[in-house]
Symmetry: C2
Subunit: 118 residues, 2 copies
Amino acid sequence: MVRKLLPLDQPAAAAPCCAPIRDALVSTREATTLAKQFAALSDPVRIRLLSMIANDPDGAVCACDLVEPAGRSQPTVSHHLKVLREAGLLTSERRGVNNWYAAVPAALESLRAALSTG
Amino acid sequence: MVRKLLPLDQPAAAAPCCAPIRDALVSTREATTLAKQFAALSDPVRIRLLSMIANDPDGAVCACDLVEPAGRSQPTVSHHLKVLREAGLLTSERRGVNNWYAAVPAALESLRAALSTG
DNA sequence: CAGGTCTATCGATGGCTGTCAATGTTAATA
DNA sequence: TATTAACATTGACAGCCATCGATAGACCTG
């Protein structure tokens, strides 16, 4: 956790994927999309990683600073970050040797919308 | 899907379990609780089951009416309903031979809160 | 009581997943 | 170029999970 550069900008917005669960009947396709996103949140290590990143005052966190607080090995943390990124909840940007991760607020908002009424 | 009785009342409210992910750092214990709840939503069949139940005009659905639309065997549907019930997202009530399932709006609201900012 | 219906449970199975050690890859530095 | 640091990928393994057929239990009806 040595050579750092600048944090990255806030990522672009993500459109809501599906109709709200409590608003209308969810199609099989929509259900599959939603299930994948919720699956990304179905691990306590990933929840904590996302929490750390989303609450960072700079808006982005170097991967090197996530290994120790996560309490897992470096490959395992890298794996979890990849899952969160592929679910659209995180973006990553390489800056020199470091990899900076930022949350995607719109993606969380999209999931919130799926749990809402109307 | 024959012998039916009356639907059940709306279930009691569920208190929010954890601090919002985007509001403060989530502890390991909170992360585990949240992860379990999100895991209940990490399957497309369960998403659709929850959607069907939460959108029912009567507020409750007989399990017998969920097997065919779920597209899974009766034991599989029973298993998924159990997962949703144990996650606090559904309640069940036996009425004669039938088992009626109802959504727990406060539980969904609790998950929404975990994804909110502030 | 006998028979039928609804639902949960059991046992088995194939696939997925979290984890780590080892290795590969990329980039900065001497 | 050689070395070091940061990070991803691979391979392996154990545990979990979705699924179904078979079965059991509960309940109504005749």
